[in-house]
Symmetry: C2
Subunit: 407 residues, 2 copies
Amino acid sequence: MNVINGGVTAAQGFMAASCAAGIKYHGRTDMAMVYSKKPCISAGTFTSNVVKAACVQWDMDIVKNKDFLQAVVINSGIANACTGKEGFDACEATAKGVEAALNIPYESVAVASTGVIGMQLPVDKLVAGVKAMAPELKDTIEAGTAASKAIMTTDTENKEVAVEFEIAGKKVVLGGMSKGSGMIHPNMCTMLAFLCTDINIEKALLQKAVSEVVADSFNMITVDGDTSTNDTLLCMANGLADNPMISSEDADYETFKEALKYVCETLAKKMAADGEGASKLFEATIVNAKSKEDAKKMARAIVGSNLSKAAIFGCDANFGRFLCAMGYSGADFDQDDVELFFKSVNGELKVFDKGTPIVFDEDKALEIMKADAVTVYVDMHEGDKEATAWGCDLTYDYVKINADYRS
Amino acid sequence: MNVINGGVTAAQGFMAASCAAGIKYHGRTDMAMVYSKKPCISAGTFTSNVVKAACVQWDMDIVKNKDFLQAVVINSGIANACTGKEGFDACEATAKGVEAALNIPYESVAVASTGVIGMQLPVDKLVAGVKAMAPELKDTIEAGTAASKAIMTTDTENKEVAVEFEIAGKKVVLGGMSKGSGMIHPNMCTMLAFLCTDINIEKALLQKAVSEVVADSFNMITVDGDTSTNDTLLCMANGLADNPMISSEDADYETFKEALKYVCETLAKKMAADGEGASKLFEATIVNAKSKEDAKKMARAIVGSNLSKAAIFGCDANFGRFLCAMGYSGADFDQDDVELFFKSVNGELKVFDKGTPIVFDEDKALEIMKADAVTVYVDMHEGDKEATAWGCDLTYDYVKINADYRS
């Protein structure tokens, strides 16, 4: 597997466009469209929030009940959540706009929105945006990058990644883009992520691979503990790589799943590191736990704790906060088995040794914690299961961004 | 029932003392002792965190297995959590110091600590503190107030309350004190709270009343979502009011429970309003929910959401965040049934009406949200159960306090 340049347009047959539709932001793009020349099978994972945005409900229907997905229209600025019937009408109008512009059935058009909840979308602007983007669709890397920028809200960087790998002598490509960066505590999926591949695979296996990989990547990141109403991951596969159809969990399936894992983990870590106000990536790795489920609970609790996040911001090796978070995570363990380390590119340091605090070198701890990415590494000594979760630090800027997000 | 001045020394037979033991803070008191002239029956609730501080384990044993509790020694600065065997030894040494100074069995002495996790207590200083406090025990209101100040960490105000009520012609008093103000997301109990009453009641009924009242008061507050390793509530009852023994859930029991509810709710709200960095009290009330459990989940999720808390800080009527939090709380409901209001002393405003956002007067919303206490009031229209939770806003100061708590 090789990492290559690009994102949603990296795989054969995928095109993208973007525009400034003036939905809420000014002086920047705020709509994107991804289109496949050939109809795709699709897989998706969606928010577990019972308050689901209109677009989430629209897309769930497509992934579950429709044979094909051929285009996705995404807007930033307004989330189309808590918008009642008018919100659904906006989804349909947008999809019908694509039908008119590209001559594909509107039931094969997914829609995704991100931004303020509880505000109606300006449907006229969306439809005009679709009409403007349709003739501008391009299969270049630049078009994919522009799309990844149009879907940003409080993100400070666009997020895309692509890989190529071989299946039965055929080159297969998988590329994707995602956006954060607040209300990030995915449970079923991440905020918004779109993966495009030319692989030839059966729909049920595509969904299986996506669900399994999302559970260990996007579902293991958190910025603020708030599971959004809009979390959506869509994966489109158009089969243009022409590899022999993958129809069982064979070696080819595993090759694809490895690539999918790399792409999802890369996008997930980018989202965590670019969390609202974040100054650094905060990683928690639990090893030798009794169960995978316990390892995941503890890793997520550590990166999700406000107190832990504030300590990471302050480069304060206040390890008791991490043990405290593990303790309330719902996992069962004995603190007398636990070893806890801080790690970064600047070194590593053990601070807690099987129930007893270690008197450690504060200067060394500070040096380790000053890095752009800091890991809390915990050896449970109670089993052989492990998990990693990703988050970010809690900063003044997080408060600033969110104290007046609507204005 | 009348609210009266005082706290832990308000009821007959209770005395308190405090001192500056130099455990971690300088230039302030950091130890307190509460003592009853007559041995008390006790009840308690403790953290659900599997990482329990040494003192929590010590106190759980007393409440569960010992006949009497007669004194409590509390220190601030160091939490005695994650401290292994040395931590237990510190509890025992402190209790034995009380035995030597006051001639009561050390098994009737509870200990409680709050502060930094993962640091050993200076036992010599604790024992010296006990020795210094013993001859200074007084039953005055001032002595109780001084004790409530000695147990503060990042609290900006001490917290105490007392009430008197009548049972069978006898005056009964219940007083208490508590402290916050970070790592506050109690689950079984609050950070530290001590209640002293002269009521005559059977131990099992005292525990029942305490457990039930704590579930709707201390367990319904949150500051930062972090359930501490040290949460402890202890209630001491010495019987000196001389009311006929309460031995069934009769009208007298209900009278006591009402008083207990007032005291716990008052202390809990004080803790929420004085959360680390908080500028205001943030209350969420859910009415007409399908079940009490769902109502509690939703109310807690609203006041626990970082995004909601930041919006409250910024006086931003961004109601979608509250609906989002309800949606991921684990409660089941239909957003099309929901009405959502903002309320404060400055008025009230409906912003969401059964699935549809309302275009509201932003100036009026700002006026309402500028108050020192803001309520999000949600009518579910799906049943007749209700719950209220209390928290605070998320401010720059929260980050500042916690980015370098140890220094």
